[in-house]
């Protein structure tokens, strides 16, 4: 199934590539842009004041920051080719190189799709698409488009799905004085996720279904979103524990169980003032994961080319109840407690638009929580006291 899909993707990229060679470049219309090749990237360095728990951008990263400056969590590079296929259709391929689940920087095809706009109100995209479980999640790697160095890990951290193979549909209509947009998507994950280094969790074949409603009115944007994941494989806890734990404690099984991501988001963007906030909840059928709630708010006020910002985020989870009685339930509970969160973060920083399409950012994060708040970090959590400060610098660009 995987090879089949990869082959389809390869054929698709080849077709797109070969049609690029035949793309008309002599179009007389002003900058009609039949074919466009653009890119974006971030060069970031960051460090924390902890050598135990390691700060990561999200759980797709196997290792995180320590006391030494590192460029791994934020640095990335992406290129994208767009090819117009008539007035209503377009093909898009995007490649990204970043620090991956396996510790490498091997480039990945992050987007590869065909879009058709049936009407101005209705469009469909088919192929590989970025996940948008939460507002702004599908552009969370495009640093230049975001205010902060990275989306708040307290909120976006548990999101290991970056893209899926499937389709989405978008529909828009006027409603009242504003604009209503609805989106629905479904597909299969082709990704893997780091578990406990060096063990990785193959998410390939997991089914993703979701959608959201947006309402735009003047400076306001509101969103309600929901996404469902049906896992296609067990967590590699058997390999980790060196025991058939998923058999001994069947409640730790996640294969064919669901995770549900619900969120509401609001953006207020008027002149120099920009405020965004989100609340989210993740619920798992399996007790192998703790259900969690998280939220954040970020406010910024632009002063010329500087946009100083202030943010607050929080995450908290609650353990599920194991009903299996047996000698291994305790071990299963210990493993599940690695998904516990109970901390908050205060973020202070500034974006500086240095040139056209170049922004410099400096950011300080103060994380305060309980020592058992483990899930959104990597490394030796056991030694951690629940407190951490992170200093980050980033240069974002788009071209």
């Amino acid at each position: 199934m995987k090879t089949m899909r990869n082959r389809c993707l390869g054929v698709f990229i080849f077709l797109l590539g070969s049609s690029l060679c035949h793309a008309e470049t002599g179009n007389t219309a002003p900058a009609s842009d039949g074919f466009l090749l653009k890119g974006f990237g971030t060069f970031g360095v960051a460090r924390s004041d902890s050598n135990s728990a390691e700060y990561v951008r999200d759980l797709s990263q196997p290792k995180g920051l320590t006391k030494s400056w590192s460029s791994k969590i934020d640095t990335l590079f992406g290129v994208q080719a767009n090819l117009k296929l008539g007035a209503q259709s377009e093909g898009v391929v995007q490649l990204i190189s970043r620090y991956r689940y396996d510790g490498s920087y091997r480039p990945e095809v992050s987007w590869a799709f065909l879009r058709h706009d049936f009407t101005p109100d209705f469009q469909v995209r088919i192929g590989r698409l970025g996940t948008e479980f939460y507002m702004l999640a599908d552009s969370r790697l495009v640093g230049y488009s975001n205010l902060t160095v990275r989306p708040p890990p307290d909120f976006y951290g548990p999101l290991v799905f970056s893209y899926f193979d499937g389709f989405d549909t978008g529909w828009s209509t006027d409603l009242g004085a504003g604009l209503l947009r609805a989106k629905f998507y479904a597909g299969i994950s082709p990704e893997s996720s780091p578990f406990v280094s060096p063990i990785t969790w193959n998410l390939n074949g997991s089914r993703l279904i979701g959608g959201h409603l947006d309402y735009f009115l003047g400076p306001w944007q509101l969103r309600i979103a929901s996404a469902d994941v049906k896992f296609n494989s067990e967590l590699p806890i058997d390999a980790l524990a060196n025991l058939p734990l998923t058999t001994l404690v069947p409640e730790t099984r996640v294969k064919n169980t669901h995770a549900r991501f619900d969120s509401v988001g609001v953006v207020y963007d008027k002149g120099p003032l920009q405020v965004q906030g989100m609340l989210g909840r993740i619920r798992y059928d399996s007790v192998a994961y703790e259900d969690s709630r998280a939220g954040f708010v970020i406010a910024s006020y632009r002063l010329g080319q500087f946009s100083p910002y202030l943010g607050y985020s929080k995450t908290r989870s609650s353990p599920g109840t194991f009903t299996t009685v047996g000698p291994f339930t305790g071990l299963a509970q210990t493993l599940a407690s690695a998904t516990h969160t109970n901390h908050h973060t205060i973020t202070v920083g500034s974006r500086w638009d240095v040139y056209q399409n170049v922004a410099l950012k400096i950011q300080f994060d103060a994380i305060r929580g309980k020592p058992d708040s483990a899930f959104t970090f990597r490394g030796d959590i056991v030694q951690w006291d629940g407190s951490m400060n992170v200093m980050s610098l980033a240069l974002d660009f788009a071209f």
Binding site: A29, N82, F113, P120, S172, Q356
Partner: protein, 144 residues
């Protein structure tokens, strides 16, 4: 002290006058024969920021931007959405690199804007008011 403040207020007034002079009177235009009478600011925001590109006549809106140089583009987005050019660029980076709508077409000159508006049924552009002749209809202007 009072003299100083008087000087300062005169200076301020002069600066305002000069500023007013620099600011162009930008108007949003369509082909006079397009059947579109007027557009609200919200509708123009939806069209130029790629949220919803549909004209009241039902056809797809095809917006076009003025050249980056010259200041009219910056002035337009300041008046339309109170956003400066870097914010607009960041906005489009988000939409572009998440495979959504493309930004408006980019003209190389004001005459290309006019040609696009006259040559495409859904063409929407913006011009300095003095460049808007009888072939186009002003569908939105910004109060000074």
């Amino acid at each position: 002290m009072t003299e100083l403040s008087r000087h300062l207020s005169i200076l301020g007034l002069l600066a305002l006058l000069c500023w007013g002079d620099v600011l162009a009177d930008v108007v949003v235009v369509v082909d006079a024969k397009s059947g579109v009478e007027r557009l609200s600011q919200e509708e123009v925001i939806n069209i130029f920021l790629g949220r919803y590109r549909k004209l009241p006549t039902g056809i797809t809106a095809l917006p076009i931007d003025q050249p980056q140089a010259g200041g009219l583009r910056a002035e337009f987005y300041r008046k339309l959405a109170d956003k400066d050019v870097s914010e607009i660029n960041a906005y489009w980076a988000r939409l572009y690199f998440s495979g959504k709508t493309r930004p408006p077409l980019q003209a190389n000159s004001a005459s290309e804007v006019l040609a696009h508006v006259l040559g495409n049924p859904g063409g929407v552009g913006y011009l300095e008011r003095s460049q808007a002749d009888a072939r186009v209809r002003i569908v939105l202007s910004f109060s000074p």
